[in-house]
Symmetry: none
Subunit: 226 residues, 2 copies
Amino acid sequence: MKQRILVVDDEPEAVELVEFNLRQAGYAVSTAADGAEALKKARSQTPDLIVLDVMLPEMDGFEICKTLRLDAATANVPIIMLTAKAAEIDRVLGLELGADDYLTKPFSPRELLLRVKKILARSAPQEKAKEQLRFGDLMIDLPRHIATWKNKPIELTATEFKLLTILAQRAGRVQSRDQLLRDVWEYDSVIDTRTVDTHMRRLREKIGAAAKHLDTVRGVGYRFVE
Amino acid sequence: MKQRILVVDDEPEAVELVEFNLRQAGYAVSTAADGAEALKKARSQTPDLIVLDVMLPEMDGFEICKTLRLDAATANVPIIMLTAKAAEIDRVLGLELGADDYLTKPFSPRELLLRVKKILARSAPQEKAKEQLRFGDLMIDLPRHIATWKNKPIELTATEFKLLTILAQRAGRVQSRDQLLRDVWEYDSVIDTRTVDTHMRRLREKIGAAAKHLDTVRGVGYRFVE
DNA sequence: AGGCTTCGTCACCCAATCGTAACGCGTTCG
DNA sequence: CGAACGCGTTACGATTGGGTGACGAAGCCT
């Protein structure tokens, strides 16, 4: 599966150049011309890397960078800043804001690729086999056994946590009650299927607003929607 | 404790400039003027970072870099390469050889500091995690086999200490009783899982106020929280 | 050998958690 | 249009999981 890179720049030529080179190198590329579009795409696509120009109309690169860092969904996406000014203050700000690297324009495509490759190589191994699930403001951390909503922890019992996890891991696909009993309660369960309902209810109660992710499919079972 | 940086360059002026700025920033600095000296000091002092000029008499920066990477004692020390040539090939080589970053001369002291700080910030927490753990007023010293609370020593038995250590090293992640039995008691243990409970109790008793770090996750296991 | 520490196991107890039954409401279907 | 059905909701008894105290065995030191 290709890694996705979001390129943010208001100059079409610059975007084109960068996009071409990144595609050539085998990456999937999205683009955005302004801050609003950048934030929207960053959030919806959660790319593996963002190449971000500092000079943008309305919201500049620093603003975008800050905002991205504040949102749990994009806080960990590495960012490479592009700046036309060689002025050092820009660089400092760029790095201290949480950017992972920067390039001063004009830069060679080769140098860009080098930086991109390096950053991705560093962060790739961190993508531990789905140890952490994120859906908007909802976060589920398997090893920590913690679920949070808007960074606030949700108190869940062991079964509730497992139920939520199973549903979230199969996001989009409907799970029948029998299926859930097998996966959450471990097969062999001679348990009433209505038990699932009760636990779903308790789960919904506890996760509050996040309950919107939990869909009931009448006559079939339950489904986690993103 | 200050972090040590080894600066390798054959031009005394360059060394002086870099050394001054790094000291100013609070780092301990060693210097070397050629490859042989660099390798020797790198091995004997195992600095936290090496700033390495490419252009050196006899053995050049690339050679040194390769050699450092081959030696287990220095394989993981981050390296920042300095190059006077803007030629890209140098950069590529520098990064592909395992250098962690590079700077082209002339560079500003501020930019160097920025890079240094960034690299150290990335690798520092990994190193610390090995010898000494700190969580607020609680300190665990692995090599000394000592734990303290507000600088006052806590008397712990061998198993208690190991249990605490394992939990602290995996801070945040829940450890099941079986997991703990395997890691603390060494696998093969035909020990009752309830034994873990007892030791947890004794541990909590002894560490007193620090017990707030030890969380019970009902139905799952135990977790060390920061 | 004797006293002390450390360790593993057991038994007891309480509270959190779980499974089930019962009730009620909206939906579906004959 | 009404009965059957499916699911949410509430309530409650049963179970489980883990804290706690106690005890014997093994190791360690003097």
